[in-house]
């Protein structure tokens, strides 16, 4: 039966895999060995793996300087290999001895979104997305610039840096994948991020139209919560799928965690409705008004509710305060 020796890095990941059919395998730094170790803490002739008469493999230390440690970290002179997958450390080099009938994990299915990822990986998509994001940034600068002190042309120089900033997230993910020995897939990650920004800009335009035409309607309000949330969920789901997170619960957990930022941020924001009211203020040019404006009378009828609601709130507060006062001990 053939035997395999896997060299492992400090995280326990396989860096080399050797298969032998001979009864004796030598390990060490010397060039005459069957497995040549690079670790400077290992000796030229460090250890030897032999098959004895009872057809049992055993690993023997060759009186090396730093010795041989078994799986539990004890220094041993000789160790029989009783089961597949036993680990040893020679100097600082970790290794594992595996029999050829060692079971392998189940085959990983290709990601269902693999075709999308391939499409995202094409340079054309990335370039188009980058360009669209750059144009939308430039448009914002142009919109804001007004009067003789405007510097919007100079601000255009900021665009490359802003794009770089947006690229931080995919870079970070790719780096993480690289360090955990996964495929980094930077290009699809970048394309995914910039596609999200393009879709987001499209949503902003749609939201402006909806807010302008259908203020306070349930449809607009519902959409303005639902759509961005959905977009972010999809974005983070695919981001983590691209770096090949296997554990389902981790994938779901991370996606929910990052998407929830969209909800947490406005929730943390302090708003002083006593002084500065919050209201819909969307304005667009006349041509984009796609409905009949409301009549003054109907508008004023709707305002009646404002008085009723605030008066009820004030009344509730008064009652609470009175209750607190009557409970308080006499001063």
């Amino acid at each position: 039966m053939a035997i395999l020796i896997e060299l492992l890095n400090s995280q326990g990941r396989v860096t080399e895999r050797h298969k032998f059919n001979q009864p004796q395998i030598s390990l060490g730094r010397g060039y005459n060995n069957d497995i040549i170790l690079l670790d400077p803490h290992s000796c030229a002739e460090h250890a030897v793996l032999t098959l004895n008469d009872q057809q049992q493999w055993q690993l023997t230390d060759m009186d090396s300087v730093n010795g041989m440690l078994n799986q539990r970290g004890q220094r041993v002179k000789q160790q029989p290999i009783t089961q597949s997958g036993q680990q040893f450390t020679l100097g600082k080099q970790r290794l594992r001895v595996v029999f050829s009938d060692h079971p392998v994990p189940a085959t990983q299915r290709l990601q269902p979104a693999e075709r999308l990822f391939q499409w995202l990986g094409s340079p054309l998509v990335l370039i188009v997305a980058l360009l669209l994001v750059a144009i939308s940034l430039g448009y914002e600068f142009w919109l804001d610039g007004i009067g003789e002190d405007s510097q919007w042309q100079k601000q255009l120089l900021l665009i490359p840096f802003l794009l770089l900033m947006f690229a931080l997230w995919p870079l970070l993910l790719a780096l993480w994948a690289r360090f955990s020995n996964r495929e980094p897939r930077l290009k699809p990650l970048l394309a995914l991020t910039f596609c999200l920004l393009v879709i987001w800009a499209g949503w902003d335009i749609l939201a402006a139209l909806l807010n302008f035409n259908l203020n306070n309607s349930m449809l607009t309000r519902g959409l303005s919560y639902l759509l961005p949330t959905l977009l972010l969920l999809v974005f983070f789901w695919f981001s983590f799928a691209l770096v090949n997170i296997q554990r389902r619960w981790l994938h779901i957990g991370l996606t929910l965690l990052f998407s929830s930022l969209y909800w947490v941020y406005p929730w943390l924001e302090y708003s002083d409705a006593h002084y500065s009211p919050q209201f819909e203020h969307q304005l667009l040019p006349q041509v984009l008004l796609l409905r009949q404006p409301t009549a003054t009378d109907i508008f004023m009828e709707k305002t009646e509710l404002l008085f009723t609601n605030t008066a009820a709130k004030a009344e509730k507060d008064r009652v609470e305060k009175a209750a607190k006062r009557s409970n308080a001990p006499e001063a």
Binding site: W142, L143, D144, I146, G147, E148, S150, F212, N213, N215, N216, A273, H274, Y275, S276, P277, Q278, F279, E280, H281, Q282, L283, L284, P285, Q286, L289, R291, Q292, P293, T294, A295, T296, F299, M300, K302, T303, E304, L305, L306, F307, N309, T310, A311, K313, A314, E315, D317, R318, K321, R325, A328, E330, A331
Partner: protein, 416 residues
């Protein structure tokens, strides 16, 4: 030369006469003047001070704003009269008039010396004296000149040229016969002082019961005063036709009531502003003080005409929209006194012109039926022109706020 000598003589002759009167006023009425202190119970320290004066053997007049904290948080404060030499007496509130900032108090210590109230106002230019305890420095008498009624004021106030300083609030201003012509209430700086006329003091005395009411009863009275006052302020504006004048293509009020003043301003046309604007504002800026966190009774309107003919319509619209993205109340009110604003916003047809109209309301927590209303409207941009109109009303009823908004929406329109 002769002229100078003559002038010098006049001054020399006049000086001792003034000093004499001031001295006699002070000497005769020193005992009838007291310092009113609001003491915080926990720290046993002064939280507010003002002046007060006897109008009968046990009744004192001071300003409402001096004692407002006592009404706001009854159990947290004590009201004391500082009669000097560590002689402090607890005071009771008999009646208040928040509109004219007056309060009537009762002392346990009877006082023989009292001020008499003048039966009529002095002539303009006549010498008057203001008494009080400015900045806790001790009682002083300040000579001044009576300059008639404050012009264009909704609330009746006498205009006295003389140094009325913080702490003199609640002290009397007297004529040369030492008769009270009014109660010191405010200063506009630079020797301009305002005094509540004696007629308002008489009205307060006439309407007061002899016993001290519960604080809740006082609050009820304050609510009634506020309700009556907002009715008096708004009804002439609601019933009469507004005089309008154009601002760009918009129509804005020129004159709607004698106590509402209007101002205007425009950007310089030679400059490249991107958007040329012309603004107008009208308002009644005098406020009623209710407590340190709440003032009311104010009315203000603002109008803005915008023309960005050199801009692309999208760019114009972007900046136009930013101008209505934020609006705030005009009177001071914290979360202890009012609810948060509730708003309704819609695109409304006003005189055939589509406009974004925003109407916001907040309710007073201590004073049911009273609201602050905020209105903001901007025409939907027609090319590169826009017109913004805005008003705030403080301390009004639902009926008046709604009626005012309707009137405003009918009058302030875009002329196409």
């Amino acid at each position: 030369m002769l002229y100078r000598v003559f002038c010098g003589l006049v001054i020399m002759l006049a000086q001792p006469a003034v000093a004499d009167t001031a001295q006699s006023v002070f000497n005769n009425y020193q005992d009838a003047l007291i310092q009113v202190q609001v003491i915080e119970n926990q720290t046993q320290r002064k939280s507010a001070i003002g002046s007060g004066f006897y109008v009968s053997d046990d009744l004192l007049i001071t300003n409402y704003h001096v004692i407002a904290e006592k009404i706001q948080s009854e159990q947290q404060y004590q009201l004391m009269a500082n009669l000097g030499d560590d002689n402090k007496q607890q005071l009771q509130i008999i009646a208040v008039d928040v509109i004219n900032d007056l309060a009537l108090l009762r002392t346990p210590q009877k006082q023989n010396r009292q001020f008499t109230l003048a039966s009529n106002l002095p002539a303009q230019g006549e010498q008057v004296f203001s008494l009080g305890n400015p900045h806790d420095l001790g009682m002083v008498v300040v000579p001044g000149t009576f300059n008639g009624m404050k012009q264009q004021s909704f609330y009746p106030r006498l205009h006295v040229t003389g140094s009325i300083n913080p702490g003199m609030s609640g002290g009397p201003s007297v004529n040369s016969n030492s008769e009270v012509i009014g109660v010191n209430v405010a200063t506009a700086g630079n020797q301009i002082g305002f005094v509540v006329p004696v007629a308002q003091v008489n009205a307060l005395l006439a309407g007061a019961n002899s016993t001290a009411p519960e604080i809740d009863t006082l609050k009820q009275q304050i609510l009634q005063q506020l309700l009556t006052n907002q009715q008096q302020m708004l009804s002439p504006m609601l019933s009469e036709q507004w005089q309008m004048q154009p601002l760009g293509k918009g129509l804005v009020p020129a004159d709607i009531a004698p106590f509402v003043q209007c101002w205007g301003h425009a950007t310089e046309l030679e400059q490249n502003n991107g958007i040329d604007t012309a603004t107008a504002s009208c308002g009644q800026s005098e406020q009623i003080y209710l407590n340190s966190g709440l003032t009311t009774g104010k009315l203000e309107m603002q109008f803005e005409w915008l023309d960005g003919k050199d801009l692309s319509p999208l760019k114009f619209n972007h900046h136009y929209q930013n101008r209505i993205s934020y609006s705030g109340a005009d009177n001071r009110a914290g979360k202890h006194d009012v609810t948060g604003f509730n708003c309704h916003s819609d695109i409304v047809a006003m005189a055939g012109k589509a406009s974004r109209v925003i109407f916001c309301v907040r309710a007073y927590k201590e004073y049911p039926q009273l609201f602050d209303a905020l209105y903001l409207a901007a025409t939907v941009a027609d090319g590169q022109q826009g017109f913004i109109s805005h008003f705030t009303l403080a301390g009004v009823t639902q009926e008046n706020a709604t009626a005012f908004a309707r009137k405003f929406m009918e009058a302030v329109v875009w002329q196409s």
